[in-house]
């Protein structure tokens, strides 16, 4: 009998007991479905993280001060050496770097026309827009002249602009920024494009001011919170990290007083963590696939017993061991492959449902589908072999006598 005929006759045998067939593949359907759905959640998270970090740019490097032990009431942070001039020194000593942007941020209250709004006030340099690939939607960004002249200008994040001004065009309006115990009126010169949440910070509910203005007119300090640097290209990020580390260790006398981390290394760490998480989810779901396989074996064993007489008849008519082995194995495989296909559908639907209702990103990968289908066919073979070989080994005389 040809392969097509074997499969066709197997499908027919399965159709003749529809309820049982459906019940027996349920395990596989749920098993494959949960593998597909859970892996899609894991992959979705992985893809989202990658996308967000890539939007920021994998050539980005963060340089942060690390708290060190001090004595008594003296300032015990390395941050007192993080200054505007250090940013220029880092850039001058790291040939792989394109920009170094000093950052300082503080929580402040924005007041406009009797309304107010809590926002993070971020002191930046003009390069910030290039480094973060973040452009104003209307108006302009901070300029070098603003820094030089300590101008009281502010660029609003998209959400801040909407919340504070509503329909009114904010450009040219004055807001009062109240932070660090001072109230400074500032002129709105621009509104940034919407960017959304990237990790812990939401770009859209921040406002941007010249860092010099923030340091001297609001906070009254000379030190900055951190640096964000960008390498000439993503490929040069690693070299840049080495150069910064080398320079700062020499400059600050110790490598324990600062931390340099590239977006690329962050991306690698997160991707591998989420990868592990995905594999784990998939494996847990894989166990249910195994349970589904046992269900198929159970049904196949019942089926072989029930059809003992049929096996006897087929043997009397000349069926060899291999013929019966093929027949019952085909039934088990058809069962599990149909179960697998339905499971892929269920998993896909489940993944769409998660995306829609739980608002989590999901990604059904073709490889997960392929693996799940191959696996379920494999389950059919593994758990079909034993019942099929029982059928093949039956003594025709005994089988024919079976009622």
């Amino acid at each position: 009998m040809s392969l097509v005929e074997t499969v066709r006759s197997a499908s027919r045998a399965l159709r003749s007991n529809m309820l049982r067939t459906v019940l027996s593949i349920l395990g596989i359907v749920i098993g494959v479905g949960s593998v597909i759905a859970l892996v899609s959640v894991g992959l979705g998270a992985q893809r989202q993280v990658t996308e967000r970090i890539t939007t920021l740019g994998t050539e980005l490097i963060n340089i942060n001060p690390v708290a060190s032990r001090g004595f008594g009431s003296r300032i015990s942070q390395a941050s007192n050496v993080f200054t505007l001039s250090l940013a220029e020194e880092i850039l001058a000593n790291s040939p792989s770097l394109a920009h170094v942007v000093p950052l300082q941020q503080t929580n402040g209250l924005l007041i406009y026309d009797g309304a107010n709004l809590q926002a993070t006030v971020v002191g930046v340099t003009p390069q910030y827009a290039d480094v973060m690939r973040y452009q104003p939607l209307i108006g302009r960004f901070i300029r070098q002249r603003d820094l030089d002249e300590l101008e009281a200008v502010v660029v609003l994040g998209a959400e801040v602009a909407v919340e504070l001004f509503g329909e009114t065009l904010p450009i040219g309006e004055r807001v009062i920024i109240s932070a660090g115990g001072r109230r400074v009126p500032m002129l709105v010169v621009g509104v940034m494009e919407p960017r959304g949440q990237v990790f812990l910070s939401n770009f859209d509910d921040q406002v941007y001011v010249p860092i010099t203005t923030l340091l001297s007119r609001v906070l009254g300090t000379r030190t900055v919170g951190s640096f964000v640097a960008s390498a000439h290209s993503a490929e040069q990020a690693y070299d840049a990290v080495q150069q910064i580390q080398h320079f700062l260790t020499r400059k600050l006398g110790s490598s324990n007083r600062f931390r340099v981390s590239s977006q690329q290394s962050l991306l690698d760490t997160l991707t591998s963590t989420l990868g592990t998480f995905t594999v784990m989810l998939g494996s847990i779901a894989g166990i249910s696939l195994l349970v589904g396989g046992i269900g198929i074996m159970n049904i196949m064993l019942v089926s072989v017993t029930e059809r003992t007489r049929e096996i006897g008849i087929r043997k009397a008519l000349g069926a060899r061991k291999a013929d019966l082995l093929a027949q019952f194995l085909a039934e088990a495989i058809v069962l599990s492959v149909i179960g697998g296909l339905l499971g892929v559908g269920l998993g896909w639907a489940g993944s769409l449902a998660v995306q829609h209702y739980a608002d989590m990103p999901t990604a059904v990968s073709p490889s997960a589908v392929l693996v799940a289908l191959t696996f379920s066919a494999g389950v059919g073979v593994i758990f079909g072999v034993y019942p099929a070989s029982r059928a093949a080994r039956l003594d025709p005389v005994v089988a024919l006598r079976h009622e």
């Binding site: 003749s16 008519l317 024919l400």
Partner: protein, 228 residues
């Protein structure tokens, strides 16, 4: 000789007891003959039928089908002999309920690896010979007992076997239908088929040319049937 038994014995172990079902059977079946095997239950007649049908192997002795010894063949080799040389007709018809009449008739051809188109043609012809071509696509449950047995006979014929081996073929049929089925066997015999009929019914057995009486695992006597 199309079939020859030489000193066939068959013993089983039933617990600690050794049961000798056949104690040395010698039998010759000439080509084109019609023979009945009769005997009371427990006589060994079923065991003999299983051996002749190549469903089982003898404990000792030899069985020749068309001159070749089949008594020491492997299970798969025996399956091949059954497929090519033996056409079974059973008391309970033994059709597969999920298949149509013509598909049931095709089964032996499937195991003989006959291509699908030729299979269909030959199965059609076999059904025609038992007068059931108009029921080809019916399932066994939609056929009467007599029709089912005719499908079974078509299935036995389809591979053109050396011997048609019928085990109580009228046992599940009423007298009239039984007679119709027997007339098919008569007709097949007249066309030169070799037929072996296993029965306990003397009336049925008399359709054959010779009746082999089995008792206590041996051939008791061979009776020539005088045409009425």
């Amino acid at each position: 000789m199309i079939l020859q038994c030489v000193g066939l014995t068959k013993s089983y172990r039933m617990g600690s007891q050794e049961v000798h079902a056949l104690r040395g059977v010698d039998l010759e079946v000439p080509e084109g003959s019609f023979m009945s095997i009769m005997g009371p239950s427990g006589s060994g007649k079923s065991t003999l039928m299983n051996l002749i049908g190549c469903l089982d192997r003898p404990t000792s002795g030899n069985l020749f089908v068309r001159g070749s010894d089949v008594s020491r063949l492997s299970a798969d080799q025996l399956a091949r002999v059954r497929n090519r040389e033996i056409g079974f007709v059973f008391q309970q018809f033994n059709l597969l309920a999920s298949l149509t009449a013509i598909e049931n008739v095709e089964l032996p051809l499937i195991y003989a690896r006959v291509p699908a188109r030729e299979r269909r043609e030959r199965a059609k012809l076999a059904l025609e010979r038992v007068g059931l071509s108009n029921r080809a696509d019916h399932r066994p449950a939609e056929l009467s007992g007599g029709q089912q047995q005719r499908v079974a006979i078509a299935r036995a014929l389809v591979n053109d076997p050396a011997i048609i081996l019928a085990d109580e073929p009228t046992g599940a049929l009423d007298t009239k239908t039984g007679r119709e089925v027997m007339s098919i066997f008569q007709e097949l015999h007249s066309q030169g088929r070799t037929i072996i009929l296993v029965t306990h019914d003397p009336e049925v057995a008399r359709h054959a040319e010779r009746i082999v009486h089995i008792r206590d695992g041996k051939v008791e006597r061979i009776e020539e049937v005088v045409a009425a």
